[in-house]
Symmetry: C2
Subunit: 384 residues, 2 copies
């Protein structure tokens, strides 16, 4: 297996992009990544997208986007595992380059969520939950994560304020990210006074509905060393599954797929949590970031809320989590999120993260999660 | 790269399976493939499915099905490229085993099309066409293939009767396949008198709406040699894209993605059309089989209709095409079709195809196509 590096990244400002279609936002972003990599052709591409069929009535986007990018007839593959589709696109591209099958591969994600002419976004997102055991009973994702939050509060004494602090921290970071959908700071009081969505979660505990894309170009490390950028290698990958319904889990506060995928990536990269300089993780709801910190071993089980309160994961903390602003502030176009995490990691490891730069960052981990934890994809990156 | 073989196949009777859900038909079929392979665990799995989100409101099926199959937390990936999703699942599984990353991988496809509580199947299938340039104007797939048929008739003198003969041949084969949705023979007259769908295509030119799944287990050839079945190696793979809209093509009678994917697989397996004992191809409409024969080089451009009329591709012909009955008679649960082609190929190469057995078959090719040819995945198989 060959070592693989990220040589180009692309991402534009996320938000409610009503004047652009799915193919527009995708091509703009993919071309940025190709420009950044200095390539005008690619050997193969992967597109992570959760549900373009339900959101905008368009499947078959792997071919559509290859064509609009001027790259047909290259092989182009769409992959899906709900909100972890972007991370999965990277994993499969990595496999293709590592195996020696192809050299220059575009890995990408896209979702157009705000201008559906069909069902509402809440319905579309609900297709990531178990339709027969969860959706049928009317529960949506804020409700599922509210159950997790309530269970975590009861089991470990996690407080309502600690949940709010996740959001406050991520907005503080996102305020320094010009590409974020909501680049402004908020206060704990603002979170606690915001409209109730599913008790105990309020709207400022929830990541937003977003249009956006993100892209990266990868190739063998040997080729990457000939280019201008600092070399960012991908040294670990993990992918694991769990029941997609909460009712089938022994303990709904524990994200087994994140634990398993984390373990795989740590082992492959020969790293442990203490070796990681910063994380980009899947904070679709505030409680998710707390559970992810525990499943990845950043803190002990049950101690996530407390760690956030004490500033462990702040930008200036010992282990920054979500310097980009996370899903909460940056936005969450579901299929694109996993690749946007890569974009942030590469900016940080190259030293190009501007006001939110983490000094001397050399090792980073991404964690991208589907549904309420039914799937997780993780990666570890290292600067040469 | 390691050589890879198919060691297990699974498929149940296809049709309108109203008493079973997507997860039921999937697990039944996947367990058959695992039983046939003699394994009770797998290292990884790929699921091809075109649009479970639109058909049954359920995305995130890779994790759902891994869990229902008792295999979580293994990595499980859904791939999509419209009706070629099944073939793509095989291609990615093949890449994973060939690269040495995993040994025993389940490749599979599933679609539950007949009991949608949401939009009708015609809308769901239409998401494989270009929504902005085709769907917006009201055209559906029978209409798109009718345009291709009319152009082929005008350019090459292909007759209405020759189109019908594709359907008659495939039903004649399918009548010998107990798993086919419509296992009965039909006549040219019956096709010509059947209800008009999109001139010149009538309903007996069109593959049906089907519920079904298909599965196969693959592993390195060295391991396969220790098992009881004759060894069926996968010696070639191809995957190519084209514009998904017909209006962007120079010649709508020519399937460029099929030509390109065919070329790749032939080159990898070091084979040419004359070396292939039989084909399983994507006859979603009668005209499709004719265009595919031409793009794969089975006949010269424009000679497909004539070749069918002269019996070249009949079960007893020189180059049998679709011994299984094809999509037309066997059914077309879109994401499962590419894997069902593998099931037929393995049965034939093992000599287990019953009344439709092709004598001394040793080399076979599958061609699985998305939309009106926006994507194609091909594979070549050889018996040791």
């Amino acid at each position: 297996m060959r070592d693989v590096a990220v040589i180009g990244i692309g991402m534009t400002k996320w938000g409610e992009l009503w004047n652009k279609s799915l193919r527009d936002i995708y091509v703009e972003t993919a071309l940025m990544a190709m420009d950044d990599a200095g390539v005008d052709r690619i050997d193969s591409m992967y597109v992570g997208s959760m549900s373009p069929g339900v959101f905008v009535g368009q499947e078959h986007i792997a071919s559509l986007l290859a064509d609009y990018l001027g790259q047909a007839p290259i092989p182009s593959t769409r992959v899906e595992t709900a909100c972890a589709s972007g991370g999965l696109a990277l994993r499969l591209g990595l496999m293709e380059v590592a195996s020696g099958m192809r050299d220059v591969v575009l890995v990408s994600g896209v979702e157009k969520m705000t201008d559906s002419t069909g069902p509402e976004a809440t319905f579309a997102l609900g297709t990531a939950a178990d339709q027969e055991y969860e959706g049928y009973h009317g529960i949506t994702f804020p409700g599922l994560y509210a159950l997790i939050a309530r269970a975590h509060m009861e089991a470990y004494g996690t407080t309502r304020e600690q949940l709010a602090m996740v959001s406050v921290k991520n907005h503080r970071n996102g305020a320094k990210n010009p590409l974020a959908q909501y680049p402004f700071e908020i206060s704990v009081a603002a979170v606690l006074q915001s409209v109730m969505i599913a008790d105990p979660l309020r709207i400022l505990d929830c990541s937003p509905i977003t249009d956006g894309a993100a892209a990266a170009v990868i190739c063998p490390v040997e080729q990457a060393r000939k280019l201008n950028h600092p070399v960012v290698r991908i040294t670990g990958t993990g992918h694991a599954t769990d029941s997609i319904s909460l009712c089938d889990r022994k303990d709904i506060t524990w994200l087994e797929s994140t634990y398993q995928a984390g373990r795989q990536a740590y082992a492959m990269a020969d790293k442990k949590p203490g070796d990681i300089d910063f994380y980009e993780v899947h904070d679709c709801f505030t409680i998710a970031e707390i559970c992810v910190m525990e499943a990845l071993g950043i803190v002990e089980k049950g101690r996530g809320g407390e760690a956030v309160e004490h500033g462990l994961t702040a930008l200036e903390g010992k282990i920054p989590v979500n310097p980009s602003g996370g899903l909460k502030s940056k936005g969450h176009p579901v299929g694109a999120t996993g690749i946007a995490q890569v974009v942030e990691v590469v900016k940080q490891l190259r030293g190009e993260a501007g006001d939110r730069q983490i000094p001397n960052a050399r090792v980073a981990m991404t964690q991208n999660m589907g549904g309420s934890g039914g799937s997780t994809v993780t990666h570890i990156f290292e600067r040469d």
